[in-house]
């Protein structure tokens, strides 16, 4: 169990973490999410006693970390993939850490097996890839068989197999009753890994709730409805009928309708009453990523703006207007409202370029929707992440 009370940290004039209070419970995976620079690593370092809080306290198992009896046997941490002397072999690195807490040498080989580094254990860690470095760090965290584990961005640099491995490892550790606190800036990863979420932005707590509650609170579910292709009139008619009954209807690029605020059977009934056939009626859930983006959009430190290429335009010869072919490649992926034109001299094709496949762009790259109004997420994006996000809460429920 980890408890933070009014945790605050300032570096010089900059506040990294402000008045953060939360509790990390044993037996579940607690995801610690926030954009880059939100204060996740700083918080982890304060938990481990590496940084002294400017204000507030944080305790691990009831003690401040620096006063914890035999800390390495109680808490294991992966802070930094390469927090290792590069000239030392993986085995010798673990040996140093093991000796600190009186862990037998046998255990070193055990954890090397667990993380799959047995064969390269004799090699200097200098030559390790980022993924191997992560595995070595995880091995170090597991050495003391601790009840509390902290992982800072553990999936960074891991391949899909490695990501799956660490996910299953954390789930197994949590099911053994351990406290697992894992940070990430990838909400989609947390959606399938964590049971509970602590979201911070600009060093402040934005949410502390279960993954299921987070989705329910911060996103809306909706239905996708499709009438047979070419039946434009039917589509208009259905749209009007649904709107009349209080649903929120939006057309999508591929001709489907996005219907919010109405249960699926009711939509089916209304379509039936209007004599309209449906080719599709499917439930959808806005992904965790979208809810997260909406929540933290005001708290993103590093935001990109459109590249106007003005400097280049001045330096080089300006292509004559209309010469540059308006290929679909220039289209903004979402056809997002309010997005400025990409640059002078390049004609902007409309959002719904005919024949353009739905771009496989993560919703994470979608420009934030206008402030104060929470419209459904941009079209064509949510399918993939929503599908990925859906299983997690269900698994979470069966476990409880």
């Amino acid at each position: 169990m980890i408890e933070a009370q009014g945790l605050t940290k300032t570096y010089g004039g900059k506040t990294a973490v402000y008045n953060l209070s939360f509790t990390v419970q044993p037996g579940v995976i607690t995801g610690f999410v926030g954009p880059n620079g939100a204060g996740k690593s700083t918080t982890m370092r304060m938990i481990l006693g590496l940084d002294e809080p400017t204000g507030g306290t944080v305790t691990v198992g009831g003690h401040p970390y620096r006063r914890l009896p035999n800390a390495p046997r109680q808490v294991g941490a992966l802070l930094d993939a390469k927090a290792v002397h590069g000239g030392r072999s993986a085995r010798n690195h673990l040996r140093c850490v093991a000796q600190l807490s009186g862990i037998p040498q046998r255990r070193v080989d055990e954890v090397l097996d667990v993380v799959g580094l047995r064969e390269v254990a004799g090699r200097r860690s200098k030559g390790f890839s980022l993924g191997m470095g992560q595995r070595l760090g995880i091995a170090g965290a597991l050495l003391g068989d601790p009840q509390i584990l902290l992982f800072d961005e553990p999936v960074n640099g891991l391949d899909p197999e490695g990501i799956l491995w660490i996910r299953n490892l954390m789930k197994k550790l949590a099911s053994e009753g351990r406290t697992i606190f894992v940070s990430s800036h990838l909400m989609s990863e947390m959606a399938v890994t964590a049971d509970h979420l602590i979201v911070i932005g600009r060093g402040q707590l934005m949410a502390d709730m279960s993954v299921r509650d987070f989705i329910n609170t911060h996103s809306a579910s909706y239905a996708r409805v499709r009438v047979p292709d070419g039946e434009q009139a039917a589509r208009e008619k259905l749209s009007a009928a649904l709107t009349e009954q209080g649903a929120h209807v939006q057309p999508e690029d591929d001709g489907a309708l996005r219907v919010g605020g109405m249960p699926l059977p009711r939509i089916s009934d209304l379509a039936h009453d209007a004599g309209i056939r449906l080719w599709e009626l499917s439930p959808h859930e806005a992904s965790l990523e979208e809810a997260y983006m909406r929540m933290t959009q005001g708290a993103v430190d590093y935001r990109s703006t459109a590249d106007h290429r003005a400097g280049l335009q001045q330096a080089g010869p300006v292509p004559p207007q209309g010469y540059a072919a308006p290929g679909p490649g220039y289209a903004p992926p979402m056809g997002a409202p309010g997005m400025p034109p990409a640059g002078p001299g390049v004609p902007q094709p409309g959002p719904g370029v005919p024949g353009m496949p739905p771009p496989g762009v993560q919703p994470g790259y979608a420009p934030p929707p206008p402030q104060g109004y929470a419209p459904p997420p941009p079209p064509a994006a949510p399918q993939a992440p929503a599908g990925a996000a859906a299983p997690a809460p269900r698994e979470g429920e069966t476990r409880r």
Partner: protein, 259 residues
């Protein structure tokens, strides 16, 4: 709380398992002995060219330790790397997460590295002495002569304390480049320049290496140098005081600053 013996053991593994340890300590030994032997041979060959005063205060023991000028730099590198690689590699996070008691961590680290430096230092000083004397012909000193054993053991202690001083400085600065840049410039240039200029000589005398090397002299005012206002152990004490200040400074930085 991690037991101090466990931390000592771990620090021993740490220092043992990086190749820089072996290289720097070997360099310290070889440089000190080889340069000492070379200068001893040269001194023996050119003894008659020395001035009368220099011949009267000829100190064969000190001559054989002339290589310390270079050998100590390798000890500086050893001392700096022991501390600074923790920071440059990020290992410090792992170390302090495992040993939250920073005093235990720091004392163990310095103790293990100092012990190693002392063993290598003593090995170097005895080897250097006998090698140098064997090349000094008729002018050689014997280990049984008055104060000679003190000078030889003192040379070994000097090397260990130089390493400790460097550890303290590295713990304060936390950077390999910064620490080496400062210490190399100091020991190789600044200290000898200040000692060479008459105006600053009286101050330079109290610098750690100048004061500490007095312990290697057998003849007071050896080779017609100025008599120091302190004795061999007095000079060594001044060096130890410098080192204590550096180590305490390093501890305060480790204790106060975020890792």
């Amino acid at each position: 709380m991690a037991a101090p013996s466990a931390v000592l053991k771990s620090e021993w593994t740490k220092v043992r398992t990086v190749s820089s340890t072996m290289w720097t300590l070997a360099a310290a030994l070889v440089l000190t002995a080889a340069v000492g032997a070379l200068l001893s041979g040269v001194m023996n060959a050119t003894f008659d060219d020395l001035s009368e005063a220099e011949r009267l205060t000829f100190d064969p023991t000190l001559v054989s330790f002339f290589g310390m000028m270079l050998g100590q730099l390798a000890m500086v590198v050893f001392g700096v790397l022991v501390i600074s690689t923790e920071y440059s590699s990020g290992m410090i996070k792992t170390s302090l997460a495992a040993v939250p008691q920073r005093a235990t961590f720091y004392v163990s680290k310095v103790a293990v590295a100092t012990l190693l430096a002392l063993i290598v230092g003593l090995l170097t000083s005895f080897l250097t002495f006998f090698l140098g004397q064997s090349l000094l012909g008729d002018h050689k000193a014997s280990i049984g002569d008055e104060n000679v054993l003190r000078a030889v053991i003192g040379a070994g202690l000097y090397m260990a304390v130089i390493a400790m001083f460097s550890m303290g400085v590295a713990a304060m600065l936390r950077s390999t480049v910064l620490s080496l840049g400062l210490l190399m410039a100091f020991f190789f240039l600044i200290s000898s320049i200040l000692a060479g200029v008459p105006a600053t000589r009286d101050v330079a005398r109290y610098l750690p290496d100048q004061a500490g090397s007095r312990v290697m002299q057998v003849v007071p005012g050896a080779l017609n140098s100025d008599e120091t206002p302190y004795g061999p152990w007095g000079g060594f004490g001044i060096m130890c005081a410098w080192t204590a200040v550096a180590l305490i400074g390093g501890y305060i930085v480790l204790k106060k600053r975020d890792a």
